[in-house]
Amino acid sequence: MTKIIKSVVCPICGCLCDDLEVTVENNEIIKMKNGCAVCEAKMVHGYKSEERILEPHIRKDGKLVPVSMDEAINKAAQILTDSKYPLLFGWTSSASETQHVGVELAEELGSALDNCCSVCHGPSVMATQEIGIPTATLGQIRHRADLIVYWACNPWSSHPRHVERYTAFTDGRFEKSEFKDYVQKLKAKASQKKVAATIRRTQVRYQPSRPQSATVEAPPQTLAKAGRKMIVFDVMKTMTAEVADYFVKVEPNRDYEIFGAMRCLVNDQELDVDSVGGIPVDYLKEIADVMVNAEFGAIFFGLGLTQSIGRFRNVELAIALTRDLNRKTKFVVSPMRGHFNVTGANTVFAWQTGYPFALDFSQGYPQYNPGEFTAIDLLRREDNDATLVISADPGAHFPKSALQNMMKYPLITINPDWNAISRLGDVVFPTQWCGIEQAGTAYRMDSVAISLKKVVEAPKGVPTDEEILRRILEKVRTIKAQKTTKENKEPQKEEAPKKRRLKPQEENVKAEGD
């Protein structure tokens, strides 16, 4: 039996493209239209992985053995209630319905609660807390933007359809696609003669007095054209930079200085230096002019800002630049959120607690402080003594020192496949692929909620992560109720937290971290 499902939402990146056409045969996706290569890799192939977890496991004598769901739930609930200070981490590849239960569980436990944004765009959220943010939904940019700046990100590889759906290569009501220009540019490149002529002419028109930079090309004349233009700032020439009208090569870790300098230039102030971050100030001046002259400009930034030196301060200044530009024209700025529902995790946490990530419930009310309650910081200080990881793989992405501390204490994982962290778990739950086997809500990078679809049935006996969490929550409540009645009868003695002794896994960690 073959069926075609339209308007399917892609559960990969923050773009949440919702125009996929999926062909399903015998409960298996066999074909997919409109999606990018990354989408195809997951939706047609990846989710069928042989590495799929099909039943719950518990580590017994150092080895993971299959157990019943009840046993796994009981064990997980016991670990979490016994722990003095557990950490619940992950959430960004789960539906917002699941995240919703997660907050309730954390509150019930009095635990720390953090999501993956603390290792991606958490700094962007922190920056908005310092200075606010002028932003817009992606369609607004599609309809109106005549200047698109990608800063420290490479959507061509990380968000493959971003350019084609939302920015330079899409037709909007007031601005048309730049794709034709791009094709012409390619053609021009193909012809040596034309290139030579173009370069010659360009040089004739531009003032030769301009100082030359060894690493950065001078702004091309095409930046003055009407219609859409795209500028890429990055530390290396990426595919996105290839299609841009202008690529500016930035010295690593100097974005902050460049934003500062550009702000001065936009505000008509003089600088005492000749170059900033490897870019001659005269070039920056021209770029600032292009920005001021735009009808509607948009800056998208990526992890190159949030995870390089300065982190949220970099973003803060990107926002400050955008704000300054709004005094002269219209400008918006937007983070290129990664996981398909990382924005949702921030959103759901915020409406229930007031805070988007880095939460702690140990006081009975929500506390927030990145640096204090963010997962890596907690783990590196060895503050928590049990961890639950859901829909994330810190095993592959956390620093060694954090993972080593995580492995000293019990670890519960909820993931669809045997990724690095599942293999390290003490209680390992199987779960459904959200957006493929499980419906739910996800928030696009511009915080528009979109409903994920269920297109195939999950393997038998594999529950949703929401169900697992609800059952753990219920069990935790039962255990707590029993404890209180017991404590009323006889006061319990303090027990030192159990350190885990696991030889083979510790070797694993080393391999992971190195």
């Binding site: 722990s83 003095k84 200070y85 557990p86 436990l109 009095g110 635990s111 922190m126 807390q129 310092e130 902050y256 200085e257 500062g260 300098a261 702000r263 001065c264 505000n267 102030q269 003089e270 600088l271 005492d272 230096v273 900033v276 030196i309 300065g310 301060r313 200044l317 400050a320 300054d324 419930f361 140990s362 006081q363 927030y368 402080n369 990145p370 640096g371 204090e372 200080r381 060895e382 503050d383 928590n384 003594d385 303090e494 030192a496 937290p497």
Partner: protein, 271 residues
């Protein structure tokens, strides 16, 4: 004097804002022992986690903490009078919102030490963490007054949104020193990492060591032979004086010792 020592090595964070001279004042020992704190998610009494003794013959300091308090947060939070001595490391938020009195740490201190403090004195005879004397997330009113001295080094983002008071650092300072500061003084005896004084609009930062890199948004003003740190003390120069952050139309001043900052010679052509 109340003496407090940990009963065990803490494996999870302990929040103990009640360890404060104000809170203890006038309370009998038994009552102090019953004060509520949290260890991780568990709510316990002070007595559960610490050995507490009282020596009525000594008046100052009011509280002496001895041992490893690096996981104990919020010691002396919001204290108005009195004195606390910590013989060991102190945790995060030590002396947060201090409104008077004195806290001495004979060891290192965690992040947000002296955050949003208004008055009083904090002495740290070791290093201090990130965000020392800086306000909570999203808050743009920082330390308003008082003095913090640090014998060792400090982390990043120290003295953000500073509105008054003095921060003296005998060691080196991390990135974003005096970020967005409005007033007050920061004095660093050794080196300073990048982006010092970024977005500052007032106040002064004096650096006796080398500045790793000055923000391009500062403009040279003059060379001065010396600069005042407080009413009693001057720093001996000559100093390059930079004005900024001009992106914020600020008039803050960075004093960089000429002898240790040869890289700034280029700026002299604008004088």
């Amino acid at each position: 004097m109340i003496t407090i020592t940990p009963k065990r090595v803490f494996t999870v964070p302990v929040q103990a804002a009640c360890i404060s001279a104000d809170v203890f004042a006038g309370k009998p020992l038994e009552e102090i022992k019953k004060l509520s704190i949290t260890e991780g998610k568990e709510t316990i009494t002070l007595d559960d986690a610490f050995n507490i003794t009282e020596d009525k013959t000594i008046e100052t300091p009011n509280i002496t903490l001895t041992g490893d308090f690096s996981k104990v947060k919020r010691i002396g939070q919001g204290m108005k009078t009195g004195e606390i001595i910590i013989n060991g490391d102190a945790g995060m938020h030590t002396g947060e919102k201090l409104a008077g009195g004195k806290i001495i740490v004979n060891g290192n201190s965690g992040g947000w030490t002296g955050s949003e403090m208004k008055k009083g004195l904090i002495e740290i005879h070791g290093n201090s963490g990130d965000y020392t004397a800086s306000p909570y997330r999203g808050t743009s009113t920082g330390m308003k007054g008082g003095v913090i001295t640090i014998d060792g080094n400090v982390g990043t983002d120290v003295g953000c949104y500073l509105q008054g008071g003095i921060i003296r650092i005998k060691g080196s300072a991390g990135r974003y020193l005096g970020y967005h500061m409005l007033d007050g003084t920061i004095f660093v005896e050794k080196d300073c990492a990048i982006r010092a004084g970024a977005c500052m609009t007032g106040g002064k930062i004096i650096i006796n060591g080398t500045i790793e890199l000055l923000m391009p948004t500062f403009t040279i003003d003059s060379i001065k032979p010396k600069v005042k740190i407080d009413a009693t003390q001057n720093a001996q120069g000559p100093f390059y004086v930079f004005l900024g952050d001009i992106a914020e139309r600020g008039t803050g001043k960075i004093f960089a010792l000429k002898a240790t900052n040869p890289a700034f010679k280029d700026y002299e052509k604008y004088l």
